[in-house]
Symmetry: C2
Subunit: 118 residues, 2 copies
């Protein structure tokens, strides 16, 4: 069973419109939970908004920001609780969010009943 943590961050600071600030916050949060980045990409929308995505060891996470609302959507998908909760908490702090709303979705990655013969 994998855990997908969905976090909605409200009342974030203005750094959520700065791709480099978001990348730096992501790196800090990933380092904080002891994980490593294996792939990342970032996109700045016109006129406003940033998407950041990283594949980290055995997990991934993404951040999408709507700076005009002070809002950031964060998704962390991992098999390790400390990773999902650690990253969400750290980003709340680094984005200076006034409020965080989290939801946990348990994702059953399969019991093998429909698996392939590899």
């Amino acid at each position: 069973m994998a855990k997908h943590l969905i976090a909605d961050l409200y009342g974030c600071g203005q750094m959520i419109d700065d791709p480099e600030a978001i990348r730096e916050a992501a790196h800090t949060a990933i380092q904080y939970v002891g994980a490593e980045i294996v792939e990342e990409c970032i996109h700045e929308f016109e006129p406003i908004g940033v998407t950041y995505f990283a594949v980290i060891t055995t997990s991934h996470f993404s951040v999408h920001t709507w700076p005009e609302y002070g809002y950031a959507a964060v998704d962390i998908f991992s098999c390790t609780d400390t990773v999902t909760e650690g990253i969400a908490g750290k980003l709340k702090e680094l984005f200076e969010a006034k409020e965080i709303k989290t939801q946990i979705i348990e994702r059953n990655i399969g019991d093998g009943s429909l698996k392939n013969e590899l």
Copy 2:
């Protein structure tokens, strides 16, 4: 309000261990809903598994595969229903999934009460 569609695909074909097949399926699904890719990245895990991520016009989506279970986790985040449902349905077909389980998470991107002064 944005819509986050979470799809768990079970009983997928062996192409879910092939990064190029996944990229091609993603392109087909994106084209199918009339969207365009603005950024994408792909990562092949060792010994098995692929992660694909794309930023598409006003939306994003990601695919993570566990070929050993015939399982693919698909996430599509968009403000447009036809995009989320169209991509999920198309990927089910292209991955030859025997079963799909979907969940819709409504994400309130903010009512402005905690917004920044830009």
